[in-house]
Amino acid sequence: MSLEVAVAAALFVGVLAYALFGGADFGSGFFDLTAGGARRGAELRTLIDHSIGPVWEVNHVWLIYCLVVWWTAFPESFAAVMTTLIVPLLLALLGIVLRGASFAFRKYSATLSQARTFGVVFATSSIITPFFLGTVAGAIASGRVPAGGYGDRWSSWLNPTSVFGGIIAVGTCAFLAGVFLCADAVRGGKPALASALRVRTIGVGLATGLVVFIALIPIEIDAPTLADGLERQAAPLIVCSFLAGLATLWLLWKERFALARLPALIAVATVISGWGVGQYPWLLVDEVRLADAGGAEATLQALLVAVAIAGVVVVPPLALLFRLTQTERWSR
């Protein structure tokens, strides 16, 4: 494995982690928004608050990780994406800022009307952020970011692949969030809430799965290089995603929520990996190959050292945090 590929793999781990864990946090915005009025939605909103409160900042750091590894390892492609996709990136950034701030503000609001205002901002920004990040992925995957940067500011992300990318991102986030919230509700001793969430989560899962498979048709025309990869090296991942998605839905149906989390994570992880593997060996599809995109060799080596240290320093406490928050003691 070349140095570039090793660093790209480390970067992709970050993308995956952000998509799964950050995604599940964003996805809870969908359920928050559709929870109903203040009285009817109070229980669910309290659950969401409790569920993502201790972890959202950590999950958010994966985004920072991706950005810094990207600009350090592949600086020219980073600048190319930033100059081309400035509009969706700014909109995603706006969503990130509003989501984080209004979530914290809502938790400590003095009055119900304050909490409502911050709550609406939190929920809507949680939905728009994954959409715009999804369009960015679509733009890269459909070869719309020129190597030298400054591609078309609008058509680069307002195109079939990007729009489907955005919708899939929103859907997968909501699906993950739904599965996790169901499990959290049961653990928190709220079975009625769990069964209400269950129906909606199954709905979101079916809709998202449908969109993923419909999207394969426009991608075929709009992003031939990606489509080619999806049909070849990434095909097993797509099949795996399909099966895991089915398994999740079945487990949800059977109300085996805790167990359903695993296939849900696998289903989303394989979709995201499908994109990554599908566009290999390109970093910017049709423009820049991974092997040609790396920065200085010494920097790539140093980055791998940093990643290894992070693995030792960060992963154990992260596992502890996740384990603790999934215990009954922390769920009350």
Binding site: G41, E57, I64, V68, T72, P75, A110, A115, V314, L320
Partner: protein, 460 residues
């Protein structure tokens, strides 16, 4: 002259001026929260430790400060993210060329950001759910991550001031990149210490100002005394050490960034020994309206009473930073820093002699003012070093003009950002104030505001 300025402006990329404004604004906003992220965990640790040893008042403080930190750290996390995006969105020229030179410390900063966020989550939600000792210890990695994270970020800034760890070849390409050398550049350690102490000054003086304000309103109980004293001790130690660190940092400027030094000192011509000019402005190439102290300019700038300070007229006009902003910002920082140092020394001397100035109204007023003053000094320091480095983004290697992008419409982005940050500020103030009000009214645990309890209250 005007035609020349216009010609110059025409050559500038569309993104330069709005990018400058936006970067300055977002960095200036975030740095205040960053100070809390760095320094607040240590202060909470002290009160929490006192609390576990039986001091009830201290335990209440720890719980409340933890809630405040939850709000501050959340908006700090998102405003820090803004800066990460801005590196690429506003300065693509810099990142494209030097991303692999300056990136490594950022990667390590990400690591400390992870640590901070993990243990913050554990700490905030661990009340009553973990063993008290383990819970308290969660603050230690947070404080350590604050130290390490500060070093990493500041090391990038120090690198911009004293770039190293690469070579530019004949074709203008960056070659021979040595990321470790860039990260551990010779300016990093001192600049880090300067910022680290500044963080403790800002957080310490601001938090103690809150309790001094309470004292002014007649709340002079143990709660307010402790709430004042703990952060004030931290701020005092930092305020006394800061001038020493600042001085050692400053005397290297003569060699590393002489133009910045000349602007600091308002030195149009080379003088030996150079006087210290207090106040003053550079008007048509002449320093005016200042008070002059002979020889002290040399001491402050070079660490000796007879070394020369190089004048601005020895630099090509295109390499001179905006003099007045740099000079005034520098002196504001020095002035406030000196004032705060003298004030804390005076306070502790008198307290040692058995007189507590906190019982006087005028000192309480001063302590209230010290919070914003520390923030002004912090901002002034950043303005001095950043504006003083202009026109370079990477000193003597890359001009800021070449770092900026060419995307139009950045003024709209800047405008939107001003609105969003104003709303964020209002939101934070609103939430923190209502928190304090609820605490004063005797409520300790804040109920879930959209929970059934709050709703039935609303219905009444």
């Amino acid at each position: 002259m005007i035609a020349e300025a216009l010609a110059l402006a025409a050559e500038e990329p569309a993104g330069l001026l709005p990018a400058r404004q936006q970067m300055a604004f977002s960095l200036g906003w975030h740095i205040i929260l960053a100070c809390f992220g760095v320094a607040f965990p240590s202060m909470i640790f002290v009160v929490h430790l006192l609390g576990l040893r039986g001091n009830e008042v201290a335990l209440v403080l720890a719980k409340r400060w933890a809630k405040v930190s939850a709000v501050l750290f959340a908006i700090g996390a998102v405003s820090g993210t803004v800066l990460s995006f801005e590196m690429g969105l506003l300065w693509p020229g810099l990142m494209e060329k030097f991303g692999d030179v300056l990136g490594l410390p950022f990667a390590f900063e990400g690591l400390s950001f992870f640590t901070e966020a993990i243990f913050l989550g554990l700490y905030l939600y661990g009340w009553g759910r973990m063993s008290p000792r383990l819970h308290l210890l969660c603050l230690v990695p947070m404080a350590a991550a604050g130290i390490f994270g500060t070093f990493c970020v500041i090391s990038v800034n120090a690198w911009m001031n004293m770039p190293t760890g690469f070579r530019i070849d004949a074709a203008g390409e960056v070659v021979d990149v040595e990321p470790w050398q860039a990260m551990f550049n010779q300016g990093a350690l001192l600049q880090f210490l300067h910022m680290w102490l500044a963080a403790f000054m800002v957080a310490g003086f601001v938090v103690s100002a809150v309790y001094a304000a309470g004292a002014l309103r007649g709340r002079r109980d143990r709660h307010h005394r402790l709430g004042f004293t703990v952060p004030f001790v931290f701020a005092s130690v930092a305020a006394v050490l800061q001038p020493v660190v600042g001085h050692v940092l400053g005397i290297r400027l003569g060699e590393t960034q002489p133009a910045k030094l000349a602007a600091f000192e308002l030195a149009e011509t080379t003088e030996q020994p150079a006087p210290l000019r207090l106040g003053g402005l550079m008007i048509d190439g002449e320093p005016r309206y200042f008070v002059e102290i002979p020889n002290w300019g040399s001491f402050i700038a070079r660490g000796s009473f007879d070394l020369p300070v190089r004048g601005l007229d020895t630099f090509p006009a295109s390499d001179v930073p905006p003099v007045n902003i740099t000079h005034l910002a520098f002196q504001t920082m020095i002035g406030i820093g000196s004032l705060l140092m003298l004030a804390v020394i005076g306070y502790w001397l008198l307290r040692w002699r058995g007189r507590d100035l906190l019982e006087t109204r005028w000192f309480c007023w001063f302590a209230v003012a010290a919070g914003p003053l520390a923030v002004v000094a912090l901002e002034a320091g950043w303005v001095a070093t950043e504006v003083g480095r202009q026109p370079w983004v990477v000193y003597d290697v890359m001009r800021t003009v070449d770092a900026a992008g060419d995307n139009p419409g950045l003024w709209w982005v800047f405008g939107t950002m001003l609105v969003v940050y104003t709303l964020l500020t209002i939101g934070a103030v609103l939430v923190l104030r209502s928190m304090a009000r609820r605490w004063r009214e005797g409520g300790e645990d804040l109920p879930s505001p959209y929970g059934p309890a709050a709703i039935s209250e609303e219905a009444r």
